[in-house]
C-alpha cells in the first residue's frame, strides 16, 4: 500500500477550494494552511503559459523530516503517510528546516503541523477533504502499489513530474502536465 496524489495541472484553476476545505475539515487555525496554491507564469505577452499547482506535504518515501526528528514524533504509518504525533513533538523545528517543500508550520499550540492526507477520512474509505471538494476534479488520491488503481493508470497514461526530485526524497505528489 502506497498512498499518493496526482494533480492535473491542465484542469486546476487555482481556486483554493482545497485550501479552505482542508482548513475547515482539520480545524487548521486561520493564518495557517496545510496546502496552498502556486501559480507560475512563463513567457512574454502574448506567448504565455501558466501552471497552477495545489501543493502540500509530499509524504516522501525517503522523508528527511522523519529522519531528522529527535523524538520520532514525525513518523510513517501504513500506506506511507507521514504524520506528526503532537504529544511527542517538542517543536524543535528540525523537520521544518529539512523539508524541501516548506510543507510544515508550527501550530499555535506549539507542535509542528502539516497535511495528513486526511488520514481520519482515508481510514473510513473516503478521499482527503481537498480531493473530495475540488470543483474541477483535478485531484486523484489512491494506491500506487495497486496497478489497477485510477492513480496508477493515470501515471501510466499521462506525462507527470514531481517537485524537486533532485532532493532525493521520493515524493508522492505527482503533477500531471
Amino acid at each position: 500500500m502506497r498512498y499518493a496524489m496526482a494533480i492535473d495541472t491542465k484542469k486546476c484553476v487555482g481556486c483554493s477550494d482545497c485550501v479552505v476545505a482542508c482548513q475547515v475539515e482539520n480545524n487548521v487555525p486561520i493564518g495557517h494552511c496545510r496546502d496552498w496554491v502556486v501559480e507560475a507564469t512563463s513567457g512574454t505577452y502574448p506567448d504565455l503559459s501558466l501552471e497552477i499547482r495545489s501543493e502540500r506535504c509530499n509524504h516522501c518515501t525517503n522523508a528527511p523530516c522523519v529522519r531528522c526528528c529527535p523524538t520520532e514524533a514525525s513518523h510513517i504509518v501504513d500506506g506511507g503517510i507521514v504524520v506528526v504525533d503532537h504529544d511527542e513533538c517538542i517543536g524543535c523545528k528540525a523537520c521544518i528546516t529539512s523539508c524541501p517543500y516548506d510543507a510544515r508550520f508550527v501550530h499555535p499550540e506549539g507542535y509542528v503541523d502539516k497535511c495528513t492526507f486526511c488520514i481520519h477520512r482515508v481510514e473510513k474509505g473516503e478521499n482527503p477533504a481537498c480531493v473530495s471538494v475540488c470543483p474541477t476534479k483535478c485531484m486523484y488520491f489512491g494506491d500506487t502499489d495497486d496497478p489497477n488503481s485510477e492513480i496508477s493508470q493515470l501515471l501510466r497514461k499521462r506525462k507527470w513530474k514531481t517537485l524537486i526530485p533532485e532532493a532525493g526524497t521520493e515524493p508522492n505528489i505527482y503533477y500531471l502536465t
Binding site: 484553476v13 487555482g14 481556486c15 477550494d17 475547515v24 475539515e25 505577452y45 471538494v133 474541477t136
Partner: protein, 746 residues
C-alpha cells in the same frame, strides 16, 4: 428627523457600542420534528440541508455540526446539478459568514446626539413601527410606488412580496442593469428566450467553447467551472478572447489577446467568415432563421483584414478560429458571459454572439444550448397584489424599451428629483446588496440617497450602504434560516431546501420574519397566511408530493422532466420560436420596431488618454463581489486585491512588484486606499486589471477595511445601453500616483 442637505451623514457603525445577545446553542429547542428514534436523531443533528447564499449559483449542500452541536463545515449535495457534491471555495468558506464577529447584531435607528448623527440600538418592534409609519406616510403623500426594493439574494423574495402587497412594483437588483441584462435581451431578441441562471450552456458535452471576456475558473460559477474541466478532459477546443491571460486563456488552444473594447469587430468578422465560406448550418438556418440575406449584406465589409486593424487579432487567426467553431458545430458554444455591461452597445454585442450561435446551429442542440426545465411549485393562496398606477418606466419615457426587468441604476437616477420627471422615489429598502460598490458613480448614488425620506438596509454585515440608512436591520445568515425553495431550471428539474442549522446569532432575524412583521403592521397580513416559514414550506412541499420532513432528510429532490425536449432542435423538428416571425431572428424585427438597429453594428469606443490605462475588473474564485471581503476563512485565502500592470508599463513608471500606488481616474477621482502593484505579463500594456470588491471604507469590517482598492470608486463614467439601460462600466481610465495624494479621495 429634520430634513437638511446633510441629513444623511455617513455613520460608521463602529462608533457605537453594539450590544446584542449571543445565544447559546439549544439545538433541541429548534430542530423539532423527527427527534424520536436514536438513529434519525443522530443523522438529523449531524447535517442539515441548505443551499448556498454566498453567490447566486445557489448550490445545494449540507451544514455539518461537530460533536458539540456547533456549525462545523459545509459540503455539497451529491445529487445537485448545480454543484454535484462539490461546493466552490466560497461555499466551503460559507461557515465564515456565520462565525464573522463583525456581523450586524441588533436593529439600529438613526438619531442625533449633541448635534451629531449616530445610531441607537432599537427593539424590533420599535424598528418595524418606525418603518411602517414612514411607509404609510410616503404612500399617502406620493403613492406606494415611490418605495423601491433593491435586493440581491434570497431575502428579496420576502421583502418583494411585502412591497408588491403594499402596491409597488419597483423591485430591482443590480444583477440586471449592472450585469447580465444585455445578454438576456440580446438572446431574447434572437431566439425568443433568454439565458437564465444557471446558464443553459451544455459545456460538459461541447466540442468547442468560446469565451469572450468570460473568465470561468476565476468567476467560480460552480457547475460551469466543473463542466469546463470535463470539457478539458475530453479535449474540447477552448478559444478565449481576452486582453488578459486569464486562467481560462491558459487552458485554451487559442488565446486571442484582443485590444479591449473591440470585441464587436471580432464577432462581426467571425460572422463574415462563416457566412462567406458557407460554413453555417444551412439546413438549420433554412428551416429556422429569418434575415440571412440582410445579415450577409450587412457583414459584407467586416473582413478579417478590417477587424485586424481594430482588434489586433491577425486575419489568419480569425479565420482559423472560425473554422474551429464550424468544425465543431453544432456542438459549439459562443458563451454569452454573465457580467456583460461593458461599453454601452452591449445588447448589440450579445446579439452578435447570439447570431453566431444561430449560424452554427448550436441553440437547442447537444453541446450547445440546452432547454432547462423548472419544477412548478404551487403559488401561495394569497390575495392578488394591487395594481400599481405607475412604475419606474414612467421616469424614462421612450428609453430602454426592451428592458425586461427594473433597472437598479434607473431607480437610483429617478430618486434625484428632476423637472421633467414626476416619478421620484422617496424610500429605498435595500437587502443584501452594497449599492455603494454595486452601482456605478458613487457620488450619484449618495446624492440619490440624500433625497430619500426613508432608507432601510437589511444585511448580515456592516457594509458601506448600512451607514446611509435610517434603519439598519440585522439579517441572520443563510445557515440560520429557512428561505423559499430553490427551484431554478436545469437539465433535470430539482427543488432544494434551506433549513437552519443553528439559531440566529445575536439579535439577528430572517428576512421572511421581518417581511411578515412589516406586512402585519401595514395591514397586509393576508399576504403572509402562515405563522412560520416552515409551515409555509411544508404546505408548498406537500403540493409537489414531498414534505418538510422528507426534504430535511434529502435536501434536494429531483423530478422527471415533463417533456423530452432537453435538445429541442436535435433532428430539426418543426419549431416555432417566441419571436415576431416565429423564427430565429438574425435580423431582429423587435429591435427594429422599437427603433434600434436590427443588425449589430461596430462602434468605435473611446481610448485611454496618454498615461492612462483602461480599467478592467473581474472576479477572484474565492470572493463574491464585495460581500465576502470580511469573511475570516476567505480573507485568509485572499485579503487584498492588486493592480495588474504589464512589465512595459511598470518600466515606464518605475513600478516594482508590491509597491503601493493610488489610482486616479479620468475625472480626478483617487482611490481611498493604496493598492499593491503586480507586475505581470498576463495583462496588455493598454490596460490594468483588478479584482472587484476590495478597498472597504467601513472600519467595522475589521478584516476588509483599507485592504486593497475599490474599482467601484473609479467607475464614475458609464455608457448607457439605449436598448435596455445597462450601465457600460469598462469606459474608465486610470493612471498611477506613486505618492500619497494630498487631497482626500471621493
Amino acid at each position: 428627523m429634520s430634513k437638511s442637505l446633510n441629513r444623511r451623514d455617513f455613520i460608521k457603525i463602529s462608533s457605537l457600542g453594539l450590544g446584542g445577545l449571543a445565544v447559546a446553542n439549544p439545538i433541541f429547542d429548534w430542530l423539532g420534528g423527527s427527534m424520536n428514534s436514536g438513529e434519525s436523531l443522530q443523522e438529523t443533528i449531524k447535517r442539515i440541508p441548505t443551499y448556498c447564499e454566498v453567490c447566486f449559483w445557489k448550490c445545494a449542500g449540507w451544514t455539518h455540526l461537530n460533536e458539540k452541536g456547533d456549525i462545523w463545515k459545509l459540503t455539497g449535495n451529491d445529487n445537485d446539478p448545480h454543484c454535484n457534491g462539490r461546493l466552490c471555495p466560497r461555499g466551503t468558506g460559507g461557515v465564515g459568514m456565520y462565525y464573522d464577529d463583525d456581523r450586524l447584531k441588533t436593529p439600529l435607528i438613526r438619531t442625533v446626539v449633541d448635534g451629531k448623527q449616530t445610531y441607537r440600538e432599537a427593539s424590533w418592534n420599535e424598528a418595524f413601527d418606525f418603518i411602517a409609519k414612514k411607509m404609510k406616510k410616503i404612500a399617502d403623500e406620493h403613492g406606494p410606488e415611490c418605495i423601491a426594493l433593491f435586493s440581491h439574494g434570497s431575502g428579496g423574495k420576502h421583502f418583494g412580496r411585502m412591497l408588491k402587497a403594499f402596491g409597488s412594483p419597483n423591485i430591482t437588483a443590480p444583477s440586471y442593469a449592472q450585469c447580465r441584462g444585455p445578454r438576456e435581451v440580446g438572446f431574447f431578441a434572437t431566439f425568443g428566450e433568454g439565458i437564465g441562471s444557471p446558464e443553459r450552456v451544455d459545456i460538459r458535452d461541447t466540442d468547442c467553447l468560446v469565451l469572450i471576456g468570460s473568465h470561468i475558473g476565476e468567476n467560480m460559477h460552480n457547475g460551469q467551472v466543473q463542466e469546463m474541466s470535463d470539457a478539458i478532459d475530453k479535449d474540447a477546443t477552448i478559444i478565449t478572447v481576452d486582453p488578459r491571460f486569464s486562467t481560462a486563456a491558459s487552458k485554451s488552444k487559442h488565446w486571442l489577446p484582443i485590444k479591449p473594447a473591440t470585441d464587436m469587430a471580432l464577432l462581426l468578422s467571425w460572422i463574415h467568415v462563416i457566412i462567406n465560406n458557407e460554413w453555417y448550418d444551412k439546413k438549420y438556418i433554412d428551416k429556422y432563421a429569418f434575415g440571412l440575406d440582410e445579415l450577409k449584406e450587412h457583414v459584407k465589409t467586416y473582413t478579417p483584414e478590417w477587424a485586424y486593424g481594430i482588434t489586433t487579432i491577425k486575419p489568419n487567426v480569425i479565420r482559423k478560429t472560425a473554422k474551429e467553431m464550424a468544425n465543431a458545430a453544432p456542438s459549439v458554444i459562443i458563451h454569452p458571459g454573465r457580467h456583460v455591461t461593458w461599453y454601452g452597445d452591449d445588447t448589440q454585442r450579445l446579439r452578435a454572439v447570439a447570431i453566431l450561435n444561430a449560424l452554427l446551429g448550436s441553440w437547442g442542440r447537444r453541446g450547445g444550448f440546452y432547454n432547462p426545465e423548472k419544477k412548478k411549485v404551487a403559488k401561495l393562496d394569497i390575495p392578488k397584489f394591487p395594481k400599481p398606477s405607475k412604475t419606474w418606466r414612467d421616469a424614462f419615457p421612450d428609453q430602454y424599451k426592451l428592458a425586461g426587468l427594473a433597472l437598479a441604476s434607473g431607480i437610483c437616477d429617478a430618486t434625484i428629483p428632476a423637472a421633467d420627471r414626476d416619478c421620484s422615489f422617496k424610500a429605498w429598502i435595500v437587502n443584501g446588496t452594497n449599492l455603494i460598490s454595486t452601482l456605478p458613480n458613487q457620488a450619484n448614488t449618495i446624492e440619490a440617497i440624500q433625497n430619500l425620506d426613508l432608507m432601510v438596509v437589511i444585511d448580515t454585515m456592516p457594509m458601506e450602504i448600512t451607514g446611509y440608512a435610517d434603519v439598519v436591520l440585522p439579517e441572520c445568515t443563510y445557515l440560520e434560516r429557512y428561505d423559499n425553495l430553490r427551484i431554478s431550471g436545469h437539465r433535470e428539474p430539482t427543488i432544494a431546501l434551506r433549513a437552519p442549522a443553528a439559531e440566529p446569532k445575536y439579535n439577528s432575524k430572517s428576512a421572511w420574519w421581518m417581511a411578515k412583521e412589516l406586512a402585519d403592521r401595514l395591514g397586509l397580513n393576508d399576504y403572509f397566511p402562515f405563522e412560520t416559514e416552515d409551515q409555509e414550506l411544508d404546505w408548498q412541499l406537500k403540493k409537489v408530493g414531498s414534505s418538510l420532513e422528507e426534504m430535511k432528510k434529502i435536501g434536494l429532490k429531483k423530478f422527471e422532466r415533463k417533456y423530452d425536449d432537453l435538445y429541442p432542435l436535435e433532428g430539426l423538428p418543426e419549431y416555432e420560436f417566441n419571436t415576431n416571425t416565429g423564427k430565429i431572428e438574425l435580423y431582429s424585427t423587435a429591435m427594429e420596431d422599437e427603433g434600434y438597429d436590427p443588425l449589430p453594428k461596430f462602434t468605435a469606443h473611446e481610448e485611454p488618454p496618454t498615461d492612462f490605462y483602461r480599467l478592467i475588473y473581474g472576479r477572484a474564485p474565492m470572493h463574491t463581489f464585495s460581500r465576502t471581503a470580511n469573511n475570516p476563512n476567505l480573507t485568509d485565502l485572499m485579503d487584498e486585491n492588486k493592480v495588474w500592470v504589464n512589465p512595459k508599463v511598470a518600466k515606464e513608471w518605475d513600478l516594482k512588484n508590491n509597491q503601493e500606488v493610488w489610482l486616479e481616474n479620468q475625472d480626478g477621482i483617487v482611490t481611498s486606499f493604496p493598492i499593491k502593484v503586480r507586475v505581470t505579463e498576463r495583462i496588455r500594456w493598454d490596460s490594468v486589471y483588478m479584482i472587484h470588491g476590495f478597498g472597504h471604507t467601513d472600519k467595522r469590517l475589521s478584516r476588509a477595511y483599507g485592504k486593497g482598492a475599490s474599482d467601484a470608486e473609479l467607475i464614475t463614467q458609464t455608457k448607457i445601453d439605449p436598448v435596455m439601460g445597462g450601465t457600460g462600466m469598462r469606459v474608465n481610465f486610470v493612471t498611477f500616483l506613486t505618492e500619497a495624494p494630498t487631497k482626500g479621495a471621493a
